[in-house]
């Protein structure tokens, strides 16, 4: 099954870093990018997305608000919130909407746990 990951970050550099880490971990996965929450919603309305990596601190709509919105439509979508802002409330809000938490700057090692878990969930859904 082809897996598509949506990378949402208002920083192009951060998207490049996320792209590289994903490429190293799961070279066969497709990757699509969005520079804002609005763009992310547009992408996901047009194409299949299996996994979402979402930056927290974005102008207009932040990553947790976007994740909460996505969660309503896609209850099973594996979502990771990406941030260096490891405040308890932010971690709690991520947990409340069943999103994982990956700290910034993204590294291959830091992303590995979430990606392996997501890959496992996707395989068990689509054997």
């Amino acid at each position: 099954m082809a897996v598509t990951v949506l990378i949402v970050d208002d920083s192009k550099l951060a998207r490049i870093v996320a792209n590289k880490a994903l490429l190293a971990l799961q070279p066969e996965w497709q990757r699509v990018e969005a520079g804002s929450a609005a763009q992310a919603l547009e992408v996901i309305s047009k194409q299949q997305v299996d996994i979402a990596l979402i930056d927290f601190n974005m102008a207009e709509k932040d990553g947790l608000e976007l994740a909460a919105e996505l969660r309503q439509t896609y209850p099973e979508l594996p979502i990771a919130i990406i941030t260096a802002n490891i405040q308890d409330e932010i971690i709690a809000r991520a947990r409340a909407i069943n999103a994982a938490f990956v700290s910034k700057p993204i590294t291959k090692e830091g992303l590995d746990g979430f990606v392996s878990g997501a890959a496992l969930r996707l395989r068990s859904k689509n054997p």
């Binding site: 920083s11 192009k12 550099l13 951060a14 590289k20 260096a84 802002n85």
Partner: protein, 211 residues
């Protein structure tokens, strides 16, 4: 002046991201101190005169300000400030001492608590940035200054008032507490040239060719 003159789009993006990560870590530390969530804006980055930088803060804050200031030196140099409206300063002290002090003790503790809070916030922010750029920075002892925004920005001898500086700022608020303020950073142009090179090297490392 437009920052694009000195930094290209990806460099500016990288600098914003580095500042964002630095400030996010600082916010997580402030959260530990005050016991309440700290909300951050997205960083603003501009190249302006010091006078204009002062005005950018001054336009938004009519009251007197209190700031904790630390200068940093190394491959690049500049000044970092944690700024509050004057009337929020005691509220911050109350928050970091977890409401355990009476009014007299609060006033007595104010200076020390502000200095220590500034030290933790500014250091975690600057140290994160320095690490990401693989540089070490030395930081001066924090000082507390009071006055309007012009006073806070004016006495930086490294750059005359009309010389352009790189000005970064983020506003923050502490939830459920009447506390808000800014984290601001100023760098002069020679430092910006050094930063540009370090950012280019940083981009090369993280984007690089495939390893």
């Amino acid at each position: 002046m437009n920052p694009e003159i000195l930094l290209d789009e990806l460099e500016r993006d990288a600098l914003t991201e580095i500042v964002n990560i630095g400030v996010s870590r600082a916010a997580a530390n402030l959260r530990k101190m005050v016991g309440q969530q700290v909300l951050l804006s997205v960083p603003s980055i501009d190249i302006v005169s010091q006078t204009r930088a002062a005005r950018l803060i001054g336009e938004r804050e009519v009251s007197k300000l209190v700031a904790v200031r630390q200068d940093f030196k190394g491959a690049f140099s500049g000044r970092a400030l944690l700024i509050f409206p004057h009337e929020k300063s005691l509220e911050l002290v109350r928050a970091v001492t977890r409401d355990e002090l009476n009014a007299a003790e609060l006033v007595e503790m104010e200076h020390e608590a502000l200095t220590e809070t500034g030290n933790i916030i500014l250091n975690s922010c600057l140290a994160t940035m320095a690490n990401m750029l693989r540089q070490s920075l030395t930081m001066t002892i924090p000082v507390v200054i009071r006055g309007d925004s012009a006073t806070l920005f004016e006495v930086w001898r490294d750059a005359p008032a009309d010389a352009p500086v790189l000005f970064l700022y983020i506003d923050f608020t502490v939830r459920d507490r009447n506390i808000s303020g800014y984290i601001a950073m100023l760098m002069n142009i020679p430092s910006l040239v050094a930063v540009k090179e370090l950012i280019a090297a940083f981009i090369e490392r993280v984007v690089g060719s495939d390893d």
